[in-house]
Amino acid sequence: MTTYLNKLWGGARLAALEQLTYRFNLFSDVAIQPLIVAAVELTLWLAFFQSTGRSELAGFSQDHYLAYAIWAAFVARISANWMYEWNMIDSVETGAVNAVLVRPISFYSFWLGQFLGYKLLTSSFSLAVPLLVCWAMKLPVQIERLPLALLLVVFYLIFVHTIAVIMASMAFFFNRVHHVTVAKNITLWMLGGEFFPLDILPENLREFMIALPFSSAVFRPVGYLTGRLTTEQLGEGFVSIAIGQVILGSLAFVLWRAGRRRYSGTGA
């Protein structure tokens, strides 16, 4: 176990070092991107409340929605893995995966370590953005809930990484997997609650979507942080992810093995 964690840490360290190499890239990643997304979301919600003349929606005030928008932008940035997924698919398509296949580490662990390291580094910096904005605008946030909310996000990262391995495994069979990935990401953004809190959906759809593990990407942690959800509801997120991980983990295992059998060692 120590050896395995040491390998993961090695990957995490390397990804962090890579991020620290180019200052502008890092600044863009941790400040510019979340700020722009947060600004867009704030504008949309302000426009909604101004144009409808309402002061609350589904029992929550305008400030609650603004707080949700700010934290959703931050948490969604953490839980998104499209860039790593893109690199993983690319490595299978180009044969760069060969460097992993000939070493005593699994493809899953090799990329997971780097993915977590990258997220740890960039999130540590970008956390300042929602904290400062919420403090400046006096928005309602239960800051003592932050550690547990972030723990769920970390748990979700492992789940979303499993999805990335499934996508990368598909690259053994098809050569345009990137196209599927774009459609999949848009679906995940909606299922995750990045665009709007899932509890404003019609009842049947709401229950179904919240029950899915994808709601732990944004809705559950941000809903918990902004007072929309209870600790028990947050806990359900862990269970939902665990079930999803078993199902998708099995699928990833089967697809990877099948893909490896037909792999032609591209590029070597």
Partner: protein, 352 residues
């Protein structure tokens, strides 16, 4: 005759001592790989039809191959592009699964990718970077040390030793992307040797490098394999790589091993062919039979022919008797040409 019998036949005839079965490091038993590809029809209409009516063709990348390599042997694997040498390398290193047959490398089935196996082998792909592009090699080595479960202090020491041998200590802290091709290859070599592999697969380690870098890497590998005696399978298009490093040569063509023998034996016979190029001062007044195979037409003033070395002297004497020579050049035949000649049957004596 089966491939195994054919190989044994070549081995016996080309002066290679019999294999010591107790020291086997690599064994291939009927190992082969086919690739199935969609045979795309020409034209728009046929391409549309191809959406539901597809034709596939099977290409044999490597025919069932039998191979036995002893520990510490250095094998030069040569052949033209698409001959199947990289496929054999990929199979033995576990990168791909075979379509048929079986193999054992250090007692393991390679494509199972057992950690105990992967910790004992290494593969270097001359045309691929395996280290991190944006980081200095020293950082990549730290991760490799963790992946191979090495003592990190020992690993750092080993990096320094290898860098010293390769003369690239100063570049260890420079981003890989800022290094020259030759320097990058040295860094890749350090990464490949960090865990002291018992079996090394070297695929074109000097490809694209300038003469100085080629020599530097060649000399390093020669010293390394002489001192550490790993089992090595080396593919290269350069004769110097093979002749300096390998002690056994496998020639592969159309997915099949067609020659298995000593490098010196292969080279000493093949090197007897030379390219003779010359210009004479006066055009020939009549046809001249220079050798049994070469005739120069009347009126000619220059020629370029490939002939056995021992025929050069008599040929020049004949020519000097009819005209003074203005310019002359004698060159060794390219390694690629020797292989091509062999495959076309011009060096049949090599396998007899």
């Amino acid at each position: 005759m089966s491939d195994l019998e054919t190989n044994s036949h070549h081995r016996a005839k080309s002066g290679v001592r019999p294999i010591d079965k107790s020291r086997l490091s690599i064994q291939a038993m009927g190992l082969g790989r086919d690739f199935v590809t969609y045979k795309k029809p020409e034209g728009l209409l046929n391409s549309i039809k191809g959406l539901w009516n597809r034709k596939y063709e099977t290409k044999v990348a490597l025919q069932p191959t039998h191979l036995e390599l002893e520990q510490g042997q250095i094998i030069g694997l040569v052949g033209s592009n698409g001959a199947g040498k990289t496929t054999l390398l990929k199979l033995l290193s576990g990168l791909i699964h075979p379509t048929h047959g079986d193999a054992r490398v250090l007692g393991h089935q390679p494509w199972k990718r057992e950690a105990a196996f992967l910790r004992r082998i290494s593969i270097l792909l001359g045309q691929k970077n395996q280290l991190w592009w944006d980081l200095p090699p020293a950082d990549s080595y730290d991760l490799l040390a963790r992946i191979y479960e090495l003592d990190r202090t020992q690993a750092r020491k080993r990096v320094q030793e290898l860098a010293e041998m390769l003369g690239c200590r100063d570049q260890l802290l420079t981003q890989l992307r800022r290094l020259s091709l030759g320097e990058r290859m040295k860094m890749e070599l350090i990464g490949a040797l960090l865990h002291e592999p018992e079996v090394m697969f070297l695929d074109e380690p000097t490809i694209g490098l300038d003469i100085v870098a080629q020599n530097s890497i060649r000399e390093f590998l020669a010293t390394y394999v002489r001192d550490r005696r790993p089992t090595v399978i080396l593919t290269s298009h350069y004769m110097d790589d093979i002749s300096l490093l390998a002690d056994r040569l496998l020639l592969i063509s159309k997915g099949r091993i067609v020659y298995d023998g000593q490098v010196d034996d292969f080279m000493s016979r093949a090197e007897t062919r030379q390219t003779l190029s010359l210009k004479i001062l006066q055009p020939l007044s009549e046809d001249l039979q220079l050798t049994a195979d070469h005739r120069i037409a009347a009126g000619s003033r220059s020629l370029s022919i490939e002939i056995p070395s021992q025929q050069i002297g008599p040929a020049l004497q004949k020519l000097l008797a009819v005209s003074p020579i203005q310019d002359i050049k004698i060159e060794e035949v390219e390694f690629e040409d020797i292989i091509r000649d062999f495959l076309e049957g011009r060096h049949d004596h090599l396998s007899q």
